[in-house]
Amino acid sequence: MNLLNISGSPHVHSDESTKKIMWRVNMALIPALLVAIAYFGINALLVSAIAVASCVLFQWLIEKYILKVPSTICDGSAVVTGLLLAFNVPATVSMMWIVIIGALVAIGVGKMSFGGLGKNPFNPALVGRVFLLISFPVQMTTWPVVDGIFPMNFDVTTGATPLGAFKEGALPEGVTFMDAFLGHIGGSLGEVSAIAILLGAAYLCWKKIITWHIPVTFIGTAFVFSGILWLVNPETYMDPVMTVLTGGIMLGACFMATDMVTSPMAKSGQLIFGFGCGLLTIIIRNWGAYPEGVSFAILLMNSVTPLINRWCKPQRFAC
């Protein structure tokens, strides 16, 4: 007979694992990726593939040669970072090499420098994205214009995003709520289609990987706050429905603000976190230098997550 195993109780496990969670997040990102490929064509596919491949490669290299620890690339977290990074950049030809730099920053600085998965205070994909935005402002804000379904050509015409155009003066002609909902607008690779993102988020909710707290408060706060501004002056401020449908609010609220590692753990803390993200996003969008503020808002809230965790405790059974 074999030796008996001995351990303290419990002797069963739910069979949940980090690996399963990460791959499910990847699954949830697929609808948005498909929409991006449909609208931006082969460019979107290539940018995403390059981002994912370089994130995985950098993580493998750093773990093998710098940290000298067993490789953890199989857990899928680098793939998540790669996909999210790709989702946050425009699907253009020049992005195909820039995104490699972004991957290096995201994985190297954003994640591995803190000790790897679980120890990073900031969302790695956003660290990479913000680095690129500041370092390559022109390339990062040259948006391809959506031109039919699945364009096969590499040289796409470029134009402004609804948010960019609004910052300059007015919404582009003819952009309807339906366009924004389906994704038929300019923007970063993965953020255009609200419906695809919500589909992914619904899957994550079903699998109990995320809860409604952060996305709902994030989007809700952004909606209410921008609504108030819009009511005050509809000329200068964008209407709230368009606000939440364009730009990165949907993607940020559903996939990046909900990143387990960098968001608060208690439900009450998550509500504060979502509220802060929504508020900061609208403030940056309206009064900041950039037309978009989701990345900065989430990173800023990431930085206060430890404080929120310290302050927001779960309700005790017995006080």
């Binding site: 074999n2 030796l3 008996l4 195993n5 001995i6 351990s7 303290g8």
Partner: protein, 300 residues
């Protein structure tokens, strides 16, 4: 232009002067009077904060030394006599010499590693495993092999051996006692290093009755008392079915080692081929000074 420069200099100067005054008063107000001797003593200490002295860290030890102005009852094991002498010089008090000591792991790896009897699958902590069951060896007194002692060592002087029982690196061991404190089964003991590092000790802490102990481990001490009978120095006592060699009396003659039926008594650093008992220098090791009594008590 000159005027602008002048104004800038003036403004900065005034601000500087103002804060200098504020800082001066604040510094006066919150001044902490501390014996400079504490700093000097702390300077000569090893600074590992191992906690072997029983204080919170090296600085706390220095404070204690200065406070009582002697080294009585205080000993920095890692620093040894050299540090003790330096502190005594600083404090202007008498030096108390101590016999150099080393940590000794009193357990045979007979039922560990490949020969283990069960498979521990829980938290890698001896302190926890000790609350779950006997451990992989099946011995309720034996080493649990999770390395709490290894984690406790600040000097990288104790490592898990290939057979699942820790091995002490004599060169690095400073006898701070942190491993002995970390061991939930009190297997590790601080013992005198002995002449030429030669030591004899009972490598077992099993208190079970003979037959039961034998069943548990082939190298267990069964408390038969043969060692006590042959010992010329009366250094060996038997209690609770377990033999113990008093290292202050032992002269390392190794009569008990040959006598022990279960090979529970271990000798270290003796020349490999067991030559015929050459006439040993009959002198007993220097009687242990009072300073090491606390350390010995804590681990016995």
């Amino acid at each position: 232009m000159t005027q602008q420069i002048l104004i800038a200099v003036l403004v900065l100067g005034v601000i500087g002067a103002f804060f200098a005054v504020v800082l001066y008063f604040v510094a006066q107000k919150f001044k902490v009077v501390e014996d400079p001797l504490i700093d000097e003593v702390a300077e000569v200490l090893p600074g590992a904060n191992c906690g072997g002295c029983g204080k919170a860290g090296c600085r706390a030890f220095a404070e204690a030394c200065v406070a009582q102005h002697s080294l009585e009852g205080l000993r920095c094991a890692p620093g040894g006599d050299a540090v003790a002498a330096k502190i005594a010089e600083l404090l202007g008090c008498a030096v108390e010499q101590g016999e150099p000591q080393v940590a000794v792991v009193r357990c045979h790896p007979a039922n560990c590693g490949e020969n283990r009897r069960s498979n521990y699958d829980g938290l890698k902590s001896c302190a926890f495993q000790n609350t779950v069951y006997t451990g992989e060896s099946g011995c309720p007194f034996g080493c649990l092999g999770c390395g709490d002692c290894v984690a406790a060592c600040q000097f990288d002087a104790i490592h898990m051996g290939p057979d699942g029982v820790p091995v002490v690196d004599e060169e690095k061991c400073t006898a701070c006692g942190a491993c002995a404190k970390a061991c939930p089964r009190r297997i590790i003991e601080l013992r005198n290093k002995g002449k030429k590092n030669r030591r004899v000790y009972v490598s077992c802490v099993n208190k079970e009755k003979g037959a039961q102990a034998m069943k548990t481990c082939a190298n267990a001490c069964i408390g038969c008392g043969k060692c006590a009978k042959v010992c010329p120095m009366e250094a060996i006592t038997i209690s609770d079915n377990l033999s113990y060699i008093d290292f202050t009396k032992c002269i390392a003659c190794r009569k008990c080692v040959t006598e022990c039926p279960t090979k529970a008594i271990t000798d270290v650093n003796f020349p490999a081929p067991a030559v015929k008992p050459a006439p040993k220098p009959a002198e007993a090791p220097a009687p242990a000074p009072a300073t090491e009594a606390p350390a010995a008590q804590a681990n016995s």
